[in-house]
Symmetry: C2
Subunit: 116 residues, 2 copies
DNA sequence: AGACGTACTACGACAGACAAAGTACGACAG
DNA sequence: CTGTCGTACTTTGTCTGTCGTAGTACGTCT
């Protein structure tokens, strides 16, 4: 196994995207490449998944969008809102909890908690 | 936040159930209670989710079932198969990978990997 | 002129989670 | 002896998120 199944990461796609918008606005194609490289090719988000996530995030008020074509290419940039930041933070907390819960049911060769 | 959202743990429900069947056969109600207590009430699996997982696991050949009413109550017990054990193991490996990937996008107060 | 990379959008299908409701039966209290 | 509670499930239908397929559009490079 070299790739992650989508059902596993489902529920964190929004969080991942918000993380990448945390410091500056960005757009679909760029985000996709960043996820790919930051995960060392382990997770490659599908275009449709990504863009539907943007729609959802905007609808929820976690990002706002604007079009910019000063680069010659027409791009839809997304900017995180304060609500988005708060949501991201809460998801990070939730992740710690999730990790603890899941690991009650996971067998790991080394029970030291060591990872990479 | 005291409970885990379902989308987060989705993709690990099957793994959790297989973990609880690892050593001995069990049945729905018991499994549900075990998940509840092992997760310290943090994760309470819904009945429909649980029973549909059993169906799925059986269809996939990861568990077999039999009815036992020697306790006075008619219960459907599930027993893990060798394929189920192999699947569980692979899911555990996948979990390590998932953890690494997700944590690239998560901010944690202490970057030490310390948890609780 | 055609291929390739960028940057999306639309549509439809599917799987898993779950709410709601119902069934069935034993134990136990009033 | 009746009603409630706990156990142990089943059925049905809905919703959400993922993703396959396909298509659009435009710039660059060959």
């Amino acid at each position: 196994m070299t790739e992650i199944s989508s059902d596993v990461i489902r529920g964190y796609n929004d969080t991942i995207i918000l993380f990448l918008l945390k410091d500056e606005p960005s757009y679909g194609y760029e985000i996709q490449k960043q996820i790919r490289s930051l995960s060392k090719e382990k997770y490659i988000i599908k275009e449709t998944t990504l863009y539907s996530a943007f729609t959802r995030l905007e609808k929820s008020g976690y990002v706002t969008s604007y079009v910019d074509d000063s680069s010659g290419k027409k791009r839809t940039y997304y900017k995180i809102t304060d609500e988005g930041k708060a949501y991201y933070d809460s998801k990070c907390e939730e992740w710690q909890l999730t990790k603890e819960v899941v690991e009650n049911f996971i067998y790991s060769k080394e029970q030291t908690g060591e990872s990479l």
